[in-house]
Symmetry: C2
Subunit: 165 residues, 2 copies
DNA sequence: TATTGTTATACTCTATAACTATA
DNA sequence: TATAGTTATAGAGTATAACAATA
């Protein structure tokens, strides 16, 4: 979390000193800015960067918040379903779930109808933390998109979903 | 490039066999879908996934395309400027530039006014490849956002820039 | 035979510290 | 002193192959 990444370049207000302001001579990014991929990536890095900062308060990575929130709204969800929903490969979900279980935020119970699977559930502690984190996420939404009106924000989400759905 | 990532889940058309379709029982993602960050990330993964496939034809990674395009429109740009523009840390830009130089796509010349810096320029081969790749990128834009009207596409880009600018 | 969950492992991406040479 | 570029390296994220247990 430092140096280049996700920092709102703040070129000092150019206080008319005699320094030739080596700052960052203007770079032409006009072509890249016509590409949806470039803009979507920059916007997601910006929002998710703020997301990371706010979730760090709870000791959660972004993907861990996503897992907890999905478990909260889908009690008994399987590892396989979490993988498919979040585009995480099964071997990488193992450690993710193990870490949340070690912290006592979730627990795994045998799946009622499928002996191979384990259903994931929130513990009371996990439910409390998730509720808090979801509130933080809702507030963060406002902050991260402060330059958008409520209508613009809804339009943005609708168009993004149209792209990936 | 396989399994989970960026594949447009294609649950076979459910040909009315007697199989109980274990597929992927519906998961409630309604809360995550209210978050700009979640939607922006999924959309960017979707578009950039296609970007990766198309750029692979030229043996280019997405970030390499970005570097070439920036050099094309900013001849003599420095490594430092590329880093700042693309959110890549200086140590990681070294290998990136070295690889493009080894392929004969770019060349570095001493900066005219700053003895520490090197200006990056396209070779004729690099210029030809970049022109082709930029055309591919323009076409890809249409394909990746096929579900959007021209107006919606412009709106989407405008709103994304409003978020990260 | 196919699928869930798992281990082990490799590869890529990203980040930090420290050095050099110029400014 | 500060900056551009570099080296070496550490860490996180993402990928594949292969296995056991169950369907």
């Amino acid at each position: 979390m430092s140096s280049t990444r996700s920092r709102k370049k703040t070129p000092p207000p150019a206080a008319c000193t005699d320094a030739p302001a080596p700052a960052t001579e203007a770079v032409d990014t006009s072509l890249l800015r016509t590409l949806v991929g470039y803009n979507a990536r920059r916007a997601s890095l910006s929002v998710i960067g703020l997301f990371m900062e706010r979730m760090a308060v709870y000791g959660l990575k972004v993907v861990e918040f996503s897992v907890l929130s999905l478990v909260a709204h889908n009690p008994g969800i399987t590892s396989r379903q979490l993988c498919a929903t979040l585009n995480v490969l099964p071997p990488n979900m193992v450690g993710l779930i193990a870490a949340l279980e070690r912290r006592g935020l979730i627990e795994r119970r045998p799946h009622p109808s499928d002996g191979r699977a384990m259903g994931v559930h929130l513990t009371p502690e996990g439910a409390a933390l998730t509720a808090q984190a979801e509130q933080t996420a809702a507030q963060l939404e406002q902050d991260a998109t402060a330059r958008l009106t409520a209508t613009e924000r809804k339009t943005l989400i609708r168009l993004l979903q149209k792209v990936y759905d």
